[in-house]
């Protein structure tokens, strides 16, 4: 009897000891993994766009981008380092992306949730995040804590695009390629801004950005979704602050009639095709100046939206497109050749004339 009891106590004690040991060994295991991960002899310290000091491994083989904004940028520099697109490429997008990169796995993104284990499995060296208006999402911070990976922050604003590229070049050690792209962006952005300054004051457009099939969802002038308008100095009729609500805001038809915009930009991804089909027949919309004068446009979306969603580098081309669409008398740009140059420079795709036509027409 007594013997059994001693045995039981002993077993219990052993079990306790074993259980305490598991987290201890687990912990030491993960600690050992960090220096191994930050491989190489010389970790570097860089300052990212938001001013954070980040220590990076000497050599970077894989980068996990938290949103498509980073993924598209990284693809144009070094697609081999891309882990995930963070969006599902549509059949219309695929022809412009090299075959071996078309089917990268989807691992969630900052808009929804990350699949942390899947990300760890891909063994990226750093996380690349694009902050919206200087704010880092809580789930990105959490992902960094969970994975122990360094996070480099960049900025979605159009003005920072060239700066973002140069920093990416420093990180990857591919300064030649990024300098080529960054100087292209600088050149195009400066020339389009100079042209925009020449638009006479009485010709200035007032734009409403329609983001749903009924056209009654929109984003204000402070939103990351309307940065292109802000960049070009074009007036957005929606001056209310909507940035705290990343998902935009609903407005009433009466309010839009009250604003009476001279141009409507319809987001093709947000029901724009449906909106374009109905807007000229709809009695309410017909009273609006933009509809009366047939000035409802939807920006091209190939291979990624030129206006927004994701707010990525194709907006550099989008700026040229929007300026010459709104002010054809002042801004004279050969969009076909600009599109060809952009596609070959950034995506290494040589477009045919038919393809360009299709991309620029609203049917693509």
């Amino acid at each position: 009897m007594k013997k059994t009891k001693t045995f039981k106590t002993l077993t219990a004690l052993l079990l306790c000891a074993a259980l305490t040991a598991i987290p201890l060994t687990g912990c030491s295991g993960s600690k050992a993994a960090v220096p191994a991960n930050a491989a190489g002899a010389n970790p570097r310290t860089i300052t990212d766009i938001l001013g954070y000091k980040v220590t990076l491994p000497a050599k970077i083989n894989k980068i996990y981008c938290t949103s498509p904004v980073g993924a598209v940028m990284l693809y144009t520099v070094d697609p081999d380092k891309l882990v995930s697109w963070n969006l599902t490429l549509s059949d219309a997008q695929k022809p412009f992306i090299k075959k071996q990169y078309q089917n990268l796995p989807m691992m969630g993104n900052s808009g929804t949730q990350f699949n942390t284990e899947q990300i760890i499995k891909q063994n990226p060296d750093i996380i690349l995040d694009f902050a919206q208006q200087g704010q880092v999402d809580a789930n990105v911070k959490q992902l960094a804590t969970q994975t122990g990976l360094p996070v480099v922050e960049m900025d979605t604003s159009l003005e920072a695009t060239a700066k973002d590229y140069r920093l990416l070049g420093t990180i990857l050690g591919e300064k030649k390629r990024t300098e080529e792209l960054a100087s292209y962006i600088d050149k195009k952005q400066n020339s389009i801004k100079a042209l925009m300054d020449k638009v006479p004051a009485d010709k200035q457009a007032s734009v409403y950005y329609a983001e749903s099939a009924d056209g009654l969802k929109t984003d204000g002038s402070d939103s990351m979704h309307t940065q292109l308008l802000k960049f070009l100095g074009i007036k957005n009729v929606v001056t209310i602050s909507t940035s705290q609500n990343m998902k935009g805001t609903a407005v009433s038809m009466e309010q839009v009639l009250n604003w009476n915009p001279s141009v409507i930009i319809a987001s093709r991804q947000m029901g724009g095709d449906q909106f374009l089909k109905s807007v000229y027949q709809n009695a309410s919309w017909k009273s609006i100046s933009a509809v009366k004068n047939k000035k409802v446009y939807s920006p091209p979306v190939t291979p990624f939206d030129w206006f927004d969603r994701p707010p990525c580098i194709t907006r550099v081309l989008g700026a040229q497109w929007l300026a010459q669409t709104l002010y054809p008398e002042t801004v004279k740009i050969d969009m076909a050749s600009e599109t060809k140059t952009f596609f070959s420079t950034f995506f290494s795709v040589n477009l045919t004339d038919d393809e360009v036509k299709k991309i620029l027409s609203s049917e693509s």
Partner: protein, 359 residues
């Protein structure tokens, strides 16, 4: 109804906690509420983000009714008849539908905490709409999917409850299976939101689920009008039977009522109302829960007056709340948020007021 019976109803209602302090004052409550609704309707016509001066508004209405030549801008007429009028009509119907079905449900389930989405109508409708958005349906498609899934969810609840309990407490089982179906469809909606592209589909779904009447066009008026009439008429005609049902199954049977059939008809009518309301306005909470209580407060527990009072107060309430939603700020305030902000404190007030009765 003879006065003796009416007194009986009031006495019995007092016993089950549906006491009304104002019911003894003899004022023709339903006509008064009707006049209030008409006043709110006319008032709503005069306000909006597109300001129309009152003389011009009267001139247009005068000119329209007597077929005078147009002497006003087309835009103003568009705002009045194409934007403001459909929205006001829809607010009236959605409010009446939610409050009317809420009052009926509270009667047949003998439970004052029941709201019209108890059997899964809202959850089903929300899932239907989310799925339609995910599959890139057009606006009509989204509204139809939402309507069908709302009805489908309630049907599922009904079938499941009749499979589970053949002869046992049917009402309790309905509520329980309703809860199961509701959380099931809510989970489906979450899955749809999870797989939806956060760049385009997800914001659209979130928007829809928040609810509101900003997308109303004349088409939506026609879409809700028929389910509304088909749903309201049987409720109004059967309203005295709700009195009997609210006393309990056995008493109702003793009075010679086919409880099963009546319950069936009322559930169909209420589901039709809830689903059509959710299909065009999204999730608008609290109206179906608090308006019947408010109606009970002013009209008493007798469904003869309670149901019309609920319909009228619901219509007036949602109309006025939507007036705030569409006029207060440049951006629309989601209707569901406003009804919750007004509804929750009011419900608390009712609870505090009723405390003496429960102690």
């Amino acid at each position: 109804m003879p006065p003796v019976e009416e007194f009986e109803i009031e006495k019995k209602s007092a016993l089950i906690g549906l006491k009304s302090p104002l019911s003894r004052i003899k004022i023709p409550i339903v006509p008064v509420l009707g006049v209030l609704l008409i006043a709110a309707f006319l008032f709503s016509f005069t306000i909006g983000r597109y300001s129309i001066p009152l003389p011009q508004l009267l001139q247009i209405i005068w000119g329209k009714t007597f077929g005078l030549a147009k002497s006003w801008p087309v835009t103003v007429e568009t705002v009045l008849f194409n934007v403001r009028m459909p929205r006001i009509l829809c607010a009236v119907m959605v409010g009446a539908a939610l409050a009317g079905s809420g009052a009926s449900y509270q009667g047949i389930f003998k439970n004052p905490m029941v709201s019209p989405d108890i059997l899964g109508a809202s959850a089903g409708a929300g899932f239907g709409a989310s799925l339609a958005i995910l599959l890139s349906f057009n606006i009509i498609g989204i509204e139809l999917m939402s309507f069908c899934f709302g009805i489908g969810a309630v049907l599922l609840t009904y079938i499941l409850s009749s499979i589970v309990g053949r002869h046992s407490n049917a009402v309790l089982l309905l509520v329980l299976t309703g809860m199961v179906v509701t959380s099931l469809f809510n989970a489906f909606t979450s899955i749809v939101k999870y797989v939806a592209d956060p760049n385009n589909k997800l914001p659209e779904i979130t928007f829809w689920l928040m609810g509101g009447l900003s997308s109303i066009t004349p088409r939506e008026v026609w879409m809700i009008l028929f389910p509304f009439i088909i749903g309201v008429v049987p409720l109004v005609l059967l309203r005295w039977k709700l009195n009997v049902l609210s006393f309990g199954e056995e008493e109702a049977k003793a009075l010679g009522l086919n409880t099963r059939r009546v319950r069936y008809v009322i559930i169909i009518a209420s589901t039709l109302l809830t689903s059509s309301a959710v299909a065009i306005a999204g999730m608008v909470g609290w109206v179906g829960l608090i308006i019947p209580h408010l109606a009970r407060l002013v009209a008493g527990p007798n469904y003869k007056r309670l149901l019309p009072a609920s319909l009228l107060i619901g219509a007036t309430f949602l109309l006025l709340v939507d007036d705030v939603a569409r006029t207060l700020f440049t951006m629309e305030i989601p209707l569901g948020i406003l009804t919750a902000i007004i509804g929750a404190p009011f419900f608390l007030y009712l609870l505090l007021k009723g405390r003496h009765g429960w102690e």
